[in-house]
Amino acid sequence: MTIDLDVKLAVYRHFAEHTTRPTPIEVADVVQAPVADVLGAYARLRQERVLVLEEDGATIRMAPPFSGVRTQHVAIVHGKSYYANCAWDVLGVPAALQAAGTVHSRCEQSGEPLTLAVDAAGPERSDWLFHCHVPAARWWDDIVFT
């Protein structure tokens, strides 16, 4: 549906510009549609695994790689700080914005900070590792937990 694409683009462009999640009213204003139609699009985009919503069905928790809430994974691009959902997504922010940036996170065991420069060729050389304790087939059983 056209409104689904319009809503998706409005959400992602809002994150890219403002670094934070938009409200349904803000999205409705951009796409020139009633809020109820925006919420309908949200539900369909959730089914397609494009958005993750809070229980109210109206608040965006994730528009991967962007996070609607504060996390330990932060990407700085064009001087703006973006929260990402996880270690994978924090590299996804400069990839999505197609711009160089700096990624900040930490070692989950020791707490040692990670700072990593990222450009179009990828992150600078690093021997840090990524680990996911949920097998790929079950990632979307509970994507927030994953």
């Binding site: 790689p65 270690a87 999505a96 930490r106 990222v118 690093s126 021997d127 990524f130 680990h131 790929a136």
Partner: protein, 72 residues
């Protein structure tokens, strides 16, 4: 989905949280995943890769085995 300074740090974390140690992913492999998923995300024609393509992406990055199998 977390970062660890070393395999030993990941191993310790898994023991403390009672999770099995899963395959560890290098930073260059993670960049490949991030690009594959998100490089076109802000574009109108962006789409999530379907399962068959996801498996090919994993394999192309050297991520093979049961952990990376999407099943069904």
């Amino acid at each position: 989905m977390l970062f660890f300074r070393s395999e030993e740090m990941a191993r310790q974390w898994c023991v403390e949280h009672d999770y099995p140690l899963r395959p560890l992913v290098r930073m260059d492999q993670l960049w490949g995943l991030a690009r594959s998923w998100y490089a076109t995300r802000l574009q109108a024609d962006a789409r999530r890769p379907p399962p068959t393509e996801i498996v090919r992406i994993f394999a192309g990055l050297g991520l093979r085995g049961d952990f990376w199998n999407l099943g069904g």
